[in-house]
Amino acid sequence: MVAMTQLRVGERAKIVDLSQVSDLVKRRLLDMGVTEGAEICLKCTMPLGGPFMIENCGQCVGIRRHEAMNIQVKPL
């Protein structure tokens, strides 16, 4: 189990733990179907500590790096 920030671009992983993410962000992620157990793929990262773009079931979502740091995933 590693933080999402450890993934390489293009790598797929399963989300294991979302509990450390702030409430508002977590609500939004749940809304978009990014839940514990969901399979995601890291699509790209922005420079200088910028946001991450992940894909889940054909849906792309952008989140900040420090939120991604709090998401625990299991690489597939």
Binding site: V25, P51, M53, G62
Partner: protein, 667 residues
Amino acid sequence: MMHIALVGNPNTGKTSLFNQLTGTYEYVGNWSGVTVEKKVGVLRSKKAKMIDLPGVYSLHPLSRDERVVTQFLLTESFDKILNIVDASQLERNLLLTVQLLEFGKPLAIALNMVDVAERRGIFIDQTKLAEALRVPVVPVIARTGKGCDEVERTLLEKVAEQTELFTLFYGEAMERAIERFIASWGTEEQFPVRWLAIQFYEGNSYVRDYVAEKWPEATWRSLYEQAEKEVQHAEQMSLAQFIYEKRRSFVKEVIQQVVQRTEIGQVTLTDRIDAVVTNKYIGIPLFLLAMYILFQLTFDWLGAPLSDLLDAFFAGPLTDSVTALLEAIGASEFIRALVVDGVIAGVGGVLVFVPQIFILFFFISFLEDSGYMARVALVMDRLMEAVGLNGKAFIPLIIGFGCNVPGVMAARTIEQPRERLVTTLLTPLMSCSARLPVYALFVGAFFAAHQAIVVLSLYVLGISLALILAKLFSLTILKEETSVFVVELPPYRMPQWQALWRSTWDKGKGFVKKAGTFIFGGSVAIWLLSYVGPHGVNVNMDDSFLAMIGGILAPLLAPLGFGTWQAGAALLTGFLAKEVVVSTMNIIYHVPDVESLQGLMATHFTPLSAFSFMVFVLLYVPCLATVATIYKETGSRKWTMFSIGYALVLAYIVSFVIYQVGGLFGF
């Protein structure tokens, strides 16, 4: 007449369907949060009213546009719901459908984007879906209009009161809590109290306020805490999470019955474009390049030649033929002067910029409809984070380049109230299309060789000041709040020509309409003020009322480099709409066309004071329509006054510095 509400997830094509069904045009774009307020229209057959609403993921609102939907459901009377479901994202869409079914209103599902789903290898059995949810389901493609007739027929004929309420079983502990709520509530509502109970336990803030209006805090709090304790004990999950999980497992079951997937291994077009557009290294440069091209096309390559043609037409053939016509019908000299020197000079002076403004709007529409807008939010987030905002705040700013009013409205989708407020306050610093005529007039006269670069510097100045002020505001008025950023990135879609044109026209027509209404009225009024003075009519303009009014401001403006009554009068009228500055100048300097006006102005301005004047016009106050919108959005007189006040101060300081420092360097 029957009222039908359109409810669904963001960016699923609600407004597209609304436009198809009603034959009107409302704002469509390929990102989440295009529609931010309720819009009403009538079906083509005139048999029912449709209500288009903002997109929501769930009925528990986080942002202001989402609140509109919950508020609508709870407080307004309507008859049926048309739930738009994105076939390519069935799971998250059905989570909302469950909540709507629990709400108990007659409901039909329009299964939209079936074309997208098919391309991804997702096939949905609509009959099975209809059976599983016990409501009519109609597949449609809102973009092309396929299936829309069927939707209308279903809505009018097949959707009936549900005989028994859709009930999802939430497990023993939760059901007991629901029972307790219903028993204590007592009164009848327009909707099932069960729905209210579930939403209440889920933590829906709007519903909680609704409940708190009836019950003292102790009552609802103890109900909530008891439920929380029991569910936590029985299921080891928080209430909200448990309710979410229950819904999700129901939805998963449904999906299992109705969806067939075939694996399509190919890389999608969206993936390929994103590999470039959101690339770590070229993402930001690419965005800047796109903005530069947009700007050059609007201002230089395409827009300027077209405007020149139009100007030549107004100054030559139009003025000549109108003069001839007026002479032929024997109009008085007064009427001739009013029409030619007032109306044609004032309104025509603004209308010549129609080509540039339409080109600008065309490109903004293209950005909106292609799906690039959400990527801009992603790419710019790091910069925005540095100034205390988030990437989503960039969308209102870009829309603000077209017109500040929809820009301010677009700030609604930002979740954090303070960030939303700051974005609302700063959007007016974006150089909107109405300021373009002013720049065009001045750069033509003073910076003929460097037109584009001078105008570009004004745009950049607007954004830079907005970012600096955002930082300043976030260190002072919004310091206690952390900013939040989650953005949905839709697949790219090739905009259709027809849709692009509709959208461009919809934005641009405001400009034309303004020219026909209060720029027309303003021109007449200004001309009259310049024609009449304390000592009679047809006075020398320097003795007119207009000169007197403008003269009051002149000494104040002198340190900025333009202390003339003409500049004072033009700025005063520019509060109505910024392009009126040009109308006023045209009338005051009393010239047949833009070219000779530019020649004349050279005697009143130097290049430095002209630049200082443009900066002042860029910053000094939001126009009347924008101020009204800021008031509507913030609901606060204080913040509205603040938006005017800080802009005036900022404009004064920046122009002052430019003129004085520029003077030192001998410009």
